[in-house]
Symmetry: C2
Subunit: 225 residues, 2 copies
DNA sequence: ATGATAATCGAACGCCTGTTCTGTGTCAAG
DNA sequence: CTTGACACAGAACAGGCGTTCGATTATCAT
C-alpha cells in the first residue's frame, strides 16, 4: 500500500509525477495533459492520474485550475518576480561627453547591447521606464566608488535634488564625472561618494550639464573581463 | 478594406487581438482560447479569430502550436533570460565575523530575505549555485570600493587564487575585510580595490579565514534606504 | 458595372481533455 | 473471516476547443 500520509510524505509515484510535470513545463512552456502524465509515469488510467493530482493538490504540492485543460501549476517554490532589459548605450569616461538615449534607443535594442535586471532590485518606486546603462571605462570614477568595468544604470534627467548621484558633463573642463549633487548658496556642490575626497564647487554661471541620475551600480567580479 | 499588407503593417483588429493576448497571458499565466479572443475583440465567429491568428502568425507576430488548445505565443520581443534567487544571510561589517551559509540556508530561504539576479549578469562561467549575499554595514569597506548599503554576492570558499576578491575574517585583529587576494613569498597580500590605499600583508602563521569570493556587487541608489 | 479579393459570419464537426462511475485487488485492523 | 480504506483500472461521457465548410457582405481595381 502506498499513500501520501502524514508519516511518510509523498510516495514514489507522486514524486515521479511532480518531476514529470516540472520537466515537461520547462521543455514545452505549458503543462502536460492527464493522459501525457499517465503515459510517462506508467499509469494506464486517467482516473488514477486524477486521483494522484488530487492528492498532490490537497498536500499543497500543486494547484489545479478545473476550468481549463492542462490546468495545473507546481507550487514548490515561490515564483520569481519580473525582470527588465536596459540598453547599454556605451561607455562613460572622464574626458568624453556622456552618451544619452534618443527615442530610438528604447525601441530597438537587442539582448547583445543590454543588461537584464530583476525589477525587485529597482530602488524604491523606480519602475524601470526610460533607464539606460553605461559601462565605466578608466579609474576616473573611483571617487564615486565606481570601478573601471562597472555598469551604471541611469535615468535621464537634466536636473537633480540634493542627495542624488548624477552623471555630469562639465564642458568648461571637458570632463565627465559621477557625484552626489547638493545645492549651495551661489551654485552647487558635487560631492564624491568617497568621504575622504574633496567636492567640486560649481558656480551658477559655469557650464554644467546633468545627463542622468544614477539608479544602480553593478560590479561583476569577472577577472578576465 | 482592412488588411495586413506590406504598406500598412497590421490593422486595428490585429493590434487589438495582440494586446488582448498579452494582457490575458499576464493575468492568467496561460493564453486565451479562440472563443475568449472573440468575446473580447468583438468578433462573433471563431473562424474569423482563426483567420486573424493565421495572419499574425504569417507576419511573425505570434507562433501557434496546433497540437494543443490555446496553443499560441507572442513573439514581439526576445524573451528575457533566466533569473535566480540568492539568500541574503545578514550583514558584513568590520568588527564582526562573516555570516556563512549552512546547508539549511539554501533550501528554505524566502523572497523576503533574498535578492533576485538575472543569470546573464553572472560573471563568466558562474552558474549561481551556492551563492549567498551579504549587506554591507558601515564605511569600513570603502577601500574595497564597496559602500555602506551595498549588496555583495559571494561564493563560499576557504581559499583563493591571485586576483580574487575575498571576504576575510582576521581573527587576530578581530576584523572583517573585502580585498583582492595575492600570494606573496612568505604569506599573502590583501590589496584594496582603491589603488590609492595600502595593502594588508599577512604572514603564513597569522590566523586568517577566507569565507568567500566576491562574485558581484550591487548598489542601489535608494536615497531613503 | 463587373470581377476579384478581403473580411465576416454561423453551423457543424472532430479531437482533446478531464470527470464520473463501476469494479477489482491488496492490506491492515478487528 | 469480515470490513473498510487505499490504490488501481477501464469505459463512458460531457465539455472545451479549434478547424472546416459554405455563405454573405464590403471593398477595390478595372
Amino acid at each position: 500500500m502506498m499513500m501520501v500520509r502524514k508519516s511518510k510524505g509523498i510516495g514514489e509515484r507522486h514524486q515521479k509525477i511532480l518531476d514529470f510535470i516540472a520537466s515537461y513545463q520547462r521543455e514545452h512552456k505549458h503543462p502536460p495533459s492527464i493522459r501525457e502524465i499517465g503515459e510517462h509515469c506508467d499509469i494506464s488510467s486517467t482516473s488514477v492520474v486524477n486521483y494522484y493530482l488530487d492528492q498532490l493538490e490537497k498536500s499543497g504540492y500543486l494547484e489545479r485550475d478545473r476550468k481549463i485543460s492542462r490546468g495545473m501549476r507546481l507550487t514548490g517554490n515561490t515564483p520569481l518576480g519580473d525582470m527588465l532589459r536596459v540598453p547599454v548605450l556605451g561607455v562613460i569616461q572622464a574626458g568624453e561627453p556622456i552618451p544619452v538615449p534618443s527615442n530610438a534607443d528604447f525601441g530597438s535594442f537587442t539582448p547583445e547591447d543590454s543588461v537584464e535586471i530583476a525589477t525587485s532590485l529597482m530602488p524604491g518606486k523606480e519602475k524601470g521606464k526610460e533607464l539606460f546603462a553605461l559601462k565605466v571605462q578608466g579609474d576616473s570614477m573611483i571617487d564615486a566608488m565606481v570601478n573601471d568595468g562597472d555598469i551604471v544604470i541611469l535615468k535621464p534627467s537634466q536636473d537633480a535634488r540634493n542627495g542624488d548621484m548624477v552623471a555630469v558633463w562639465l564642458s568648461d573642463r571637458n570632463e565627465t564625472t559621477l557625484k552626489y549633487f547638493y545645492k549651495e548658496k551661489d551654485g552647487f556642490r558635487l560631492q564624491p561618494a568617497n568621504p575622504t575626497m574633496k567636492p567640486i564647487m560649481i558656480k551658477k554661471n559655469e557650464l554644467v550639464e546633468i545627463k542622468g541620475k544614477v539608479v544602480m551600480v553593478i560590479r561583476k567580479m569577472d577577472r578576465f573581463n
